[in-house]
Symmetry: C2
Subunit: 246 residues, 2 copies
């Protein structure tokens, strides 16, 4: 049951080179999955009424290229099953003619917003999205932190960073992680692949440290908060002009 949405990339969702921002991509993925889930009575609003929230714990991206402002694309999403801890979901961004631009695998938990605890996925809770326990597709690889990083930057968690789950919107992690790479690097490169995992929530008003190591177009990232590991990521970059499909 693949859900598809025709969408024109907004200029306001693009970086200064006109490419879709990673933070905006995350937002679009949330939007399209929420459209599918809402149509089945399992959306953000439906879950909020039960004090439940969908929370992503991991994303794995492959980029053929980033779509550009004004470009017509098709956003896709598909549930890939669940086990006793996690739900799995794929996303895609395609051109109008069906060429794949971005492929994403993701892993989610269902959170009890009052008790701040994970809720076990069940067929009862998730029907009619999925009928029985089981996962189709590959498992996502876990990341390990580096012993040392080359660069440390500090960001303050803002009110603007909070979402309707009363926690920090995941899109912010992409901003905190990539900012330390700087304007020149970011303009001259595009991600080829990206894995990110979310381990520990950060809170409004806290300071987060964004740790970075960059070597041979592989950047490794850790977000730390109050000396705790909050998130890890690994991004393989390529020169923007090496892109064969641009």
């Amino acid at each position: 049951m693949k859900y598809r949405l025709n969408y024109q990339i907004q200029f306001m969702d693009c970086d200064e080179e006109g490419r879709l921002k990673l933070s905006a991509l995350i937002k679009l993925m949330m939007h399209v999955s929420n459209l599918q889930l809402s149509s089945l009575g399992l959306g953000t609003k439906d879950f909020l009424a039960k004090n439940l929230g969908w929370v992503v714990t991991q994303y794995q991206f492959e980029f053929d290229r980033l779509p550009k402002g004004g470009e017509q694309v098709v956003l896709t999403t598909e549930a890939k099953g669940y086990n006793r801890f996690f739900c799995y979901r794929d996303f895609g961004v395609e051109t109008k003619t069906g060429q794949t631009l971005i492929t994403v695998h993701s892993q989610w938990v269902i959170l009890d917003l009052v008790q701040r605890k994970m809720v076990r996925p069940t067929a009862d809770l998730l029907s009619p999205l999925v009928q029985a326990e089981g996962v189709r597709g590959a498992r996502l690889k876990r990341l390990r932190p580096l012993a040392e990083y080359d660069k440390k930057s500090t960001y303050l968690v803002r009110y603007d960073d909070l979402d309707t789950n009363h926690h920090v919107d995941n899109a912010n992690y992409f901003v905190w992680m990539t900012e330390p790479l700087g304007r020149d690097f970011l303009n001259q490169h595009e991600p080829a692949s990206l894995t990110i995992q979310f381990d520990q929530e950060v809170q409004y008003g806290q300071k987060v440290q964004s740790l970075l190591s960059l070597q041979d177009n592989l950047s490794q990232h850790e977000i730390k908060c109050a000396d705790q590991k909050s998130a890890l990521a690994k991004i393989k970059w390529r020169k923007a002009d090496e892109n064969t499909n641009a």
Copy 2:
């Protein structure tokens, strides 16, 4: 010639109370005006091809209430004429049944992106949007800075803050200005009216100072950068529960 777009407010565009963020509202206004302008060959993409950009210099908002996540609204926009410096444009957010939620007046300049200079609006450049010089509607009031403010906060201009005009996206000013009010105030209040004017661009990598004075539910704001006035705003707030239409 009023342009209308049906739109469902995305949860990712809302604050933790589920209300549309001001920064997201700005983004939606840009989107709907760009849709109208593009349909007439005057959109961001068309202008970029001529090294031109649309730049807002002032907004004046009246809020009946902020729309909520999941709500179906109608976004409207309408060109209100031009004089030898400025173009004028109104925006609106309405419920599906035609109740006005937000009314916005705005003033724009056309910027030569290479020379970083204002371009004079002409019927030739702006046809078929408007046929002749002249402005319908009220003039926007200019703001004055305060001699002193109560609170000073500092923000770093991020790569993520840049837009396709290679300058800082106006939506960021709303974040810099409102953050110092803090989570409790922002959750418990809503804007009733807001005027903002943009005087001087800020640049990537610069530090901006967000100056704030708050008295009797009127907040006054100045964004300073390298000791220069960059933007001013004045916001009248009301208690979120005083909202008669909630």
